[in-house]
């Protein structure tokens, strides 16, 4: 944003006679980019960084379990690292959300909050409930601490986001959510250790792809193309 320069320009060209179409297109594109930066709940850079953090965290889980025979689950240090990564990702998302919604009101904000609650509930409840049930019925560690926690969140949260995205006709988000569900399905059959690697790679591809598609979508809206 050009700041005081824009204010001076506004005062001079109040009737718009001096505004060349090229200059108008440049100003429109610049304002769209700035507004996008201000109000976007999931900016491309954050999505891409979170994808990379998830890839590293899931990679660490895979590395800590790949030589286990029989499978016992990731060690506590790696689990702590993953929780720290999740905490940082949540803190960054909350900061971006607060900035994006400051001063914004209306039904869309309430809808976004409801969607956030639905995603959070599916993430917090989905996998632990399945793990508890599996443990209760005597399933082994490979299932309870390997396949289920790696694959189930992707399938459960992925289908939740898929439904939300489809209802809004948000096709880039729909594609990303479908990729997450597919990654979850692949992880479910990749073995207890391989499940972490499949889930990490799948999530990274889905999030990086969504960030690229979202950036491209916003560029296409500009009159300058």
């Amino acid at each position: 944003m050009d700041g005081p320069h824009d204010i001076d320009q506004t005062a001079r060209a109040d009737d718009g006679d001096g505004l060349d179409p090229r200059e108008a297109a440049r100003l429109l594109a610049q304002t769209q980019r700035e507004a996008q930066r201000q109000f976007n709940l999931s900016p491309a850079w954050l999505t891409a960084v979170m994808g990379a953090v998830i890839l590293v965290a899931y990679g660490a889980l895979w590395l800590s379990t790949r030589r286990q025979h029989p499978y016992q689950g990731p060690n506590l240090g790696v689990v702590a690292l993953v929780y720290a990564a999740v905490a940082v990702a949540i803190a960054a998302s909350v900061k971006v959300y607060r900035r994006a919604t400051a001063g914004v009101a209306g039904p869309s904000v309430r809808q976004q909050q409801a969607e956030g609650v639905a995603i959070l509930v599916s993430f917090v409840l989905g996998s632990p409930v399945l793990q508890g049930a599996m443990k209760h019925y005597g399933a082994g560690d490979a299932i309870v601490y390997g396949v289920i926690p790696a694959a189930a969140p992707l399938i459960i949260v992925g289908t939740t986001v898929l439904g939300i995205a489809a209802s809004k006709a948000d096709w880039p988000q729909c594609g990303a959510a479908l990729a997450v569900v597919i990654a979850g399905v692949v992880a479910a059959f990749a073995g207890p250790s391989g499940a972490w690697l499949a889930a990490g790679i799948g999530l990274f591809i889905a999030m990086a792809g969504y960030a690229a598609a979202d950036s491209s979508r916003h560029r296409r809206r500009s009159p300058q193309g």
């Binding site: 108008a24 429109l28 201000q38």
Partner: protein, 99 residues
């Protein structure tokens, strides 16, 4: 190059920036006066003048709630305003394509 096909209400730097900024919000959402002023970096007087012109054209609606220091003014783009920006953008694209 003539600017006739371009809506004169929007074809002013400050008003173009106001309309584009409000159009970035989901349909039906409103933005507080202070946040809009902060995003656009305009003086309150300048912003009020341009908001009035856009409101007179039916492109946006403003709503003030509360009294005194607790009052809050929110601004939202109308459907008419959103359609006007689409038309303006298409006209701009046509003009640039012909350059």
């Amino acid at each position: 190059m003539t600017a006739d096909p371009l809506d004169p209400v929007i074809h002013v730097p400050a008003r173009l920036r106001i309309v584009v900024t409000l159009a970035a919000l989901p349909e039906g959402a409103s933005l507080s006066f202070t946040r809009l002023q902060d995003v656009l970096d305009l003086t309150p007087g300048n912003l009020i003048t341009h908001l009035r012109k856009l409101e007179d054209a039916g492109y946006l609606k403003t709503e003030t709630t509360g009294n005194g220091r607790a009052s809050r003014t929110s601004i939202a783009l109308t459907r008419h305003g959103r359609a006007a920006l689409d038309t303006y953008t298409a006209a701009l694209r046509d003009l640039l394509g012909g350059l």
